[in-house]
């Protein structure tokens, strides 16, 4: 998602970024203010021009983004001087004189980081993830799973995120089907 007051910048960035086949600009806002209703759902990478807002507004906005998706990667689009305080809130900066290849590699670097944190080779589930998946499919809550496997709730959540990243399935009922199809649980266990 891109937020910038200039349609020239938005369209230019869109063209450059979408030349990388793994990126798709799903939404953009041509706006002078980030206080307008911005729909954050489903956004992995955000490019936002902080020039448009006061530090307090910007801080709150970044906080909202991280609340919606704590793994969201946020880049500042730097078209003019931006205070260090704001720059420290974001994961990277795209400058106006960056070459297209530089922009793509900046985006690839961060998306690699988020993926390598999440994914091991071949997108196969680890045995721990399979255990978590089976319990999710049986309808257990994160807290129950944590107790059963002697893990912290935080770790369970991290496993669940990895499972979704590897399978591309988000809903519990979708994950249940995945577990059944891969013989991780049997139909009788489900009943």
């Amino acid at each position: 998602m891109i937020i910038d007051p200039s349609i020239i910048i938005i369209e230019g960035l869109k063209k450059i970024i979408e030349s990388g086949p793994e990126f798709k600009i799903t939404r953009f806002y041509q706006s002078n203010s980030i206080t307008t209703n911005v729909l954050l759902h489903g956004i992995d990478i955000l490019l936002v021009n902080p020039r448009m807002s006061k530090t307090s507004q910007f801080t709150k906005f970044i906080h909202d983004c991280r609340t919606e998706n704590e793994n969201m990667v946020i880049f500042a689009l730097q078209t003019s001087y931006v205070p260090m305080q704001m720059m420290n809130l974001v994961d990277g900066v795209i400058e106006m004189d960056d070459d297209p290849s530089v922009i793509i590699s900046k985006l690839r670097n961060v998306s690699c980081k988020t993926e390598s944190a999440n994914l091991s080779d071949n997108c196969e589930l680890s045995s721990r993830e399979k255990e978590v998946l089976v319990l999710v499919a049986k309808g257990k809550t994160n807290k129950e799973i944590a107790e059963l496997l002697n893990l912290s709730v935080y770790t369970v959540i991290a496993h669940r995120k990895n499972i979704t990243a590897k399978t591309n399935i988000k809903s519990v009922s979708g994950l249940t089907i995945y577990a059944l199809l891969n013989n991780l649980i049997s139909q009788t266990e489900m009943n």
Binding site: H41, G42, I169, S171, L180, L181
Partner: protein, 227 residues
């Protein structure tokens, strides 16, 4: 900014964005429009060309944002009629069609088939509930005479979030159908239904954008007293 005008022929709109064919039944308009311009087709069908173009533009151009004046000029009755027709199309046509094909696949898939079909039915009932919430809360409000007070049961944030959840399930379904079901189960049927679901999912995304760019600003405008 690109946008269509009443002087464009409807066929030009369709050539640009074939999805716009869906606008016709939603506005109660008929096929067989020949080479007529949008304004003429609208007049023949007694449809406001302003509303028709507003919807076509939001549907077709990602960067198109209705101006405040356009939001002000919205005919709430026409908007509600359009949204209800869209809901009807999703529930009674597209989802029924997809259900029929998933049913066929499910039959071949043995025990797992029942689970797959249930997953789809669960999705169907979630989306039906979402539409019903809109139809029971937002639409009567839009059709009411006095719009100054927004009823408490209208929660735009929750509605917007549930759009997201609905999209997630549809995406899960496409993954299950082509990536995870055993290869030998009805491959052609699966490819066909996969395309149908992708198409539905694109259309539902646009439906969400219509609500985000037209419906919500309209309600916000009424609330803020500017309309």
């Amino acid at each position: 900014m690109n946008k269509f005008t009443g002087r464009n022929k409807f066929i030009e709109l369709l050539n640009y964005n074939p999805q716009l064919i869906l606008m016709l039944p939603r506005f109660g308009m008929k096929l067989g429009f020949g080479e007529k311009r949008v304004e003429d087709i609208c007049e023949m069908n007694n449809v406001s060309s302003f509303m028709f173009l507003l919807l076509c533009n939001v549907y077709s151009f990602d960067d198109y944002m209705p101006t405040e004046n356009e939001i002000k000029d919205i005919d709430a009755n026409a908007l509600v009629k359009y949204l209800i027709a869209s809901h009807d199309y999703y529930l009674n046509h597209r989802l029924k069609h997809i259900e029929k094909h998933i049913g066929k696949i499910a039959k071949e898939a043995g025990k797992i088939g029942d689970v797959l079909l249930n997953f789809f039915k669960e999705y169907e009932s979630e989306i039906a509930t979402h539409f019903k919430t809109e139809e029971d809360t937002i639409f009567p409000y839009l059709l009411s005479e006095n719009k100054q007070m927004i009823p408490e049961n209208i929660d735009l944030d929750t509605l917007s979030r549930s759009h997201g959840n609905i999209g997630d399930k549809l995406s899960d379904l496409t993954n299950i159908i082509i990536k995870y079901l055993p290869a030998e189960i009805m491959p052609n049927e699966r490819i066909g239904v996969w395309f149908d679901i992708i198409q539905l999912s694109k259309d539902l995304d646009k439906h969400t954008i219509v609500e985000e760019k037209i419906l919500m600003p309209y309600i916000e405008g009424v609330k803020g007293g500017s309309l």
